[in-house]
Symmetry: C2
Subunit: 353 residues, 2 copies
């Protein structure tokens, strides 16, 4: 090791779901199988590249306004960033500065732990129960903030607003972040609690239900006060974030409510049919309210199955981690993609074990 | 103040140069007056928006490869981010983890201090001399890393590679970052020292000479080892950064060397003519090697002049800060824009003081 390496940060790099270049059935990163709203293409074509010479609007107004309109909240209640990872990371930096630990589930989005370590924020993981449900009483104790996804990932389990509100009621003196990346496939959003709880932040993303993972857009909705804090931190260290293409494409996408609702319904329909098919094959799974399923089979090893699927050009996600080693996460794709998956699995589970 | 506000990070928000919506002569944020290379428009038109549903390539290969080709360095020597602010911020997080202070000039890019404070990195500002030159001997002492822009901003002063190498020779045990946002308007880049000094990182941006501030692209060139460290940290906490539009537009822009050299030459030509015109009016200034000038007038207050210019629809930059309060920073625009500026200033300096 060279002397200059002594003070370099050592991390365990996250391994993102593979982005294969050849043609595969890609059910591994919870992307949307449908293209974005038609207006997105038009918006992109109309962009004047001569304007690329100019910095983008640091306030991201065109996109903030569209999101505020869609959710019927104030423009001062919306913050946007380069994907919800960017928004969440900034939330950690802005809101979690207590000496007390931030609470989040043990089985959850893996980046919470990473951001906490990165920013040297104390944290405590609260075990989800045997059915992978978050135990709300675990979040009653003194803490430096709370964050959980709803639906949770990779468990796909949605908890209703009564549950969310119970956690909020027990945490009036800290910031509570509800990460709703998959909410559009589930039930009511905690956005409707924002006016009542000014310590609540709801984050969402364009990467799933809006089919724009490739454009990196995420947002937070909260009280004007919390949004102001977020903007202050953002402006203090990186003023220009979303580029000109993301701003206009994102805004166009939000304007098309009909297309949004139609594609969400398609995916929910496919998901429900997938549950039936998998159940018939002997799989068991959590009751998914997301665009993916979290499945296990009593007779077949999940790691083996994952590798066999990959071999056959069907990519799903599997983690060699405690408690979830016998589970695979399968994204809901098109009907056709799911049929390819079913055909493979039906063969697989009919073999001698 | 609510209880939940107790642990919220308090910052002094950075005030970015104004992005006026009405038609003005905009010489305040060092943007390029010319559009990006013609290939950028083609690349944008050819983008298939259906692919927006998929995450972008986390390795950003198409852009990394184009940059590596342009600078004749290895593909494993290039790191890209969402503007050079993103790249630099990540460099601070990755490389500056010593108990000793990081050194940078007192008059320099204002974000260095912000990132250091944000990540709780000790730092020490070294005074530039009376002519605003960096004093290289100040960087010989024990430190936790060194960063300086070359040319420096807002002074516009370029130091040659002998100077850069001297700082490198005295700092073999820490990481040295040379922030070359404006290098294409100056002289040789420290990129040619990268193979010799494996503790050197050179950062550059697409926002100036490549006319793509609106698309948020920056990059670092260094030894494969340092690039690996940067990628490890990036993948550990935010895997998908540059969106699909930035990747292809950026790559196209780099491929057009001829257009790049032509527009850089135009701006350098205008800058030199601007020096002559301003000198005739009695202004004095540093010997700019950037796409902006750092100017003062012995008889007129810079703040007054800044406000008068703004009143007339000519935006330049001025800071109410120690040591530079009598200076304005003026971006080099088109010949036509500069003529508007000259006309105003000639009037201004002919008036009774």
């Amino acid at each position: 090791m060279e002397a200059f390496e002594k003070n370099i940060r050592r991390v365990e790099p996250y391994v993102p779901g593979e982005q294969p270049r050849q043609k595969v059935v890609k059910l591994n990163t919870n992307e949307n199988p449908y293209p974005p709203a038609p207006g997105v293409e038009r918006a992109l074509r109309e962009l004047d590249t001569a304007d690329f010479r100019l910095y983008p609007d640091p306030a991201c107004s065109v996109l903030v306004d569209a999101i505020a309109d869609f959710y019927k909240v104030g423009k001062d209640q919306v913050f946007v960033g380069v994907g919800s990872d960017d928004v969440l990371s900034l939330c950690f930096l802005t809101f979690f500065n207590s000496d007390k630990p931030v609470f989040f589930p043990d089985i959850t989005y893996s980046f919470y732990k990473v951001w906490a370590e990165l920013y040297r924020i104390p944290y405590e993981c609260k075990k989800v129960d045997e059915d992978f449900r978050i135990v709300k009483e675990d979040y009653y104790g003194a803490n430096g903030g709370v964050i959980f996804p709803n639906p949770n990932a990779p468990t796909a389990i949605y908890e209703n607003l009564e549950f969310v509100e119970d956690i909020l009621r027990h945490n009036r003196d800290v910031i509570v972040i509800v990460d709703e990346a998959y909410i559009d496939y589930a039930g009511p959003s905690a956005i409707e609690l924002v006016d009542q709880y000014d310590n609540l932040i709801v984050t969402q993303t364009f990467s799933k239900s809006r089919s724009m993972a490739g454009m990196r857009i995420g947002y937070a909705i909260a009280s004007p006060k919390l949004i102001r804090y977020l903007n202050d931190v953002k402006y203090s260290f990186n003023s220009y974030t979303l580029n000109r293409a993301s701003l206009v494409c994102g805004a166009e996408s939000v304007k098309d409510r009909e297309y949004f609702e139609k594609t969400v319904a398609e995916i929910v329909g496919t998901r429900e049919r997938t549950k039936e098919r998998l159940a018939k094959m002997g799989f068991s799974f959590t009751d998914s309210s997301a665009n993916f399923l979290f499945v296990t089979h009593p007779e077949y090893d999940a790691g083996d199955m994952f590798r066999a699927l990959k071999e056959a050009g069907i990519y799903v996600r599997w983690w060699d981690s405690d408690r979830i080693r016998q589970y695979m996460r399968i994204t809901v794709g098109t009907e056709e993609e799911m049929e390819t998956l079913f055909a493979f699995l039906e063969q697989y589970v009919s073999k001698e074990n």
